[in-house]
């Protein structure tokens, strides 16, 4: 019967709200309780160093190009030994949407995302991070990776003596 169904449904609705009143709220009370983010949570961006302590970033502009909101900017330069670096490197976190495109684009694993989600300030200008704010001491994810050991451009090791490298072929020896 329709009326019976209606009354039953209403009573059930009241019962559910009454029952919920005595259940524990699911709220995480933020400043006191903090949520533990997932392993691959994407939040504040850092610049990592290679295991030898050098900067990983080679200022290739790939992150900046990949960034959908254009929040990364830098200026490239080259050191005496042929090592490329960024003279300045700037991420504007007021714009960053934490999409992770920069980390995907980075060929040297320099730019990485951390789980630190607590970045809110009263003054938005303090959210513009310079290179010294971004650089961390450790290698982050992939702790053993050093780009220059694999690149074969003779910065860490002389040319041809890299880890997966054979000595350069003497072209003349290949002549018939």
């Amino acid at each position: 019967m329709n009326l019976y169904q209606d009354i039953k449904a209403t009573a059930q609705a009241y019962w559910i709200t009454l029952r919920n009143m005595f259940r524990k709220p699911v709220t995480i009370q933020y400043p006191e309780q903090k949520r533990v983010p997932f392993e691959r949570y994407r939040a504040r961006i850092v610049l990592t160093r290679d295991p030898d302590g050098g900067e990983r970033c080679v200022a290739c502009y790939l992150c900046s190009a990949a960034c959908p909101v254009d929040c990364i900017s830098m200026q490239a330069a080259e050191a005496e030994d042929g090592r490329r670096y960024a003279t300045w490197f700037r991420i504007n976190f007021t714009r960053c949407i934490f999409c992770g495109m920069c980390t995907e684009a980075c060929p040297t694993r320099a730019i990485q995302m951390t789980a630190d989600y607590e970045i809110c300030r009263r003054d938005p200008l303090t959210l513009v991070y310079e290179k010294e704010d971004l650089l961390i001491d450790g290698p982050g994810k992939e702790p053993d990776y050093n780009f220059y050991r694999h690149a074969g451009i003779g910065v860490v090791n002389p040319r041809g003596q890299g880890e997966e490298e054979r000595p350069p072929a003497d072209v003349r020896s290949l002549l018939p």
Partner: protein, 334 residues
């Protein structure tokens, strides 16, 4: 001390008590509602201001008072100013006839715990609840805003419709108690409350009262997702606060009317009368909040259909049946 001075002081003390109780009651009703709704939705509700959020009403009041008092251009200023007052004052005035406890003895005289025991208390209540419609209607009308006008039109027709079934649900109570005075009605329920003697009237009254309070599921006058905030769309600061306080005082008043008319007022075992009264009022107020947490809003045609085609005929039949039964039970008095 002269007799008249004692009387005046007693009346003033009672007035102050009721005034204080109603206003703090309304303020804490807001907190209780937010807390309970929160718990029903698995949240905590306000818990930052003071221990357990108990100072939240104070913070809300400070915020409301310090807000800008905005008047829309081309609003009817006079009506715009007095409308929230009407809403709050009519709500406050209604409590004058509500007996909230059995008479007590003070200074060797009988003091009834009611500000004014009118012999037409029921009619006074109905009259004031009709007047309260003006606050809402004029507020919406004077705002010079489409949403506010829509809200006030809705409020007008809804309140008039449900006042009818509310009045008709009171008639059996008056028939059974043989009095319009609320004190006499409570005394008539010393044995069994009218909610048990006449459950249809109780249910009709409860639903009509929900509609009278303009709250979910009958909150069409201020349906947020259709007409912004209905009749108080254009109100800000303490003027909005008056509407808000009026609404919650109204909830308390209507709860106490349900208590007085159907739940036997202060009558109850063991505990003193005044405790029973406030327990019952608290329970009905909780029912209001519980309903708000449970039911969705009605559609407008459903509201009108329910009021005019179901509640009013039911109430009319109930009046006739109750009258017939009373006549059969004691034909001498009838």
């Amino acid at each position: 001390m002269p007799e008249w001075l004692v009387t005046t002081i007693l009346i003033l003390v009672k007035l102050g008590f009721v005034f204080f109780l109603l206003l703090t009651g309304a303020a804490y009703m807001v907190l209780a509602e937010r807390k309970l709704l929160g718990r029903m939705q698995l949240r905590y509700g306000p818990n930052r201001v003071g221990p357990f959020g108990l100072l939240q009403p104070l913070a809300d009041a400070v915020k409301l008072v310090t807000k800008e008092d905005f008047i829309p251009s081309q609003a009817d200023k006079f009506l715009f100013f007095i409308a929230p007052g009407i809403a709050a004052v009519t709500a406050l005035l209604t409590f004058a006839v509500v007996p909230f406890g059995p008479p007590i003895r003070l200074f060797g005289r009988e003091v009834p715990l009611v500000i004014c025991d009118l012999n037409i208390g029921v009619l006074y209540f109905l009259g004031l609840s009709s007047l309260a419609v003006y606050g809402v209607t004029l507020g919406g009308w004077a705002s010079n805003s489409k949403y506010a006008l829509l809200g006030s039109i809705r409020a007008l027709s809804q309140l008039i419709s449900y006042e009818l079934s509310m009045g008709l649900a009171i008639v059996p109570v008056v028939l059974m108690a043989r009095s319009f005075s609320l004190t006499n009605i409570v005394n008539a329920q010393a044995g069994l409350p009218f909610a048990i003697l006449n459950p249809p009237a109780f249910l009709i009254f409860l639903v009509s009262v929900l509609a009278e309070s303009k709250r979910i599921p009958f909150d069409l006058p201020e349906a947020e997702n259709e007409i912004v905030a209905g009749f108080h769309t254009e109100y800000s600061g303490m003027r909005f606060g008056l509407f808000f306080v009026g609404e919650y005082i109204n909830v308390i008043i209507l709860s106490s009317m349900v208590t007085v008319l159907f739940l036997g007022g202060w009558h109850g075992p063991l505990l003193p009368g005044i405790v029973w009264f406030f327990l019952k009022v608290g329970f009905i107020s909780f029912l209001f909040i519980w309903t708000r947490g449970t039911l969705p809003r009605l559609r407008y045609d459903q509201l009108m259909h329910f009021g005019w085609k179901i509640l009013v005929p039911l109430a009319l039949v109930n009046v006739i049946v109750t009258g017939a039964i009373l006549l059969l039970l004691n034909p001498a008095k009838g």
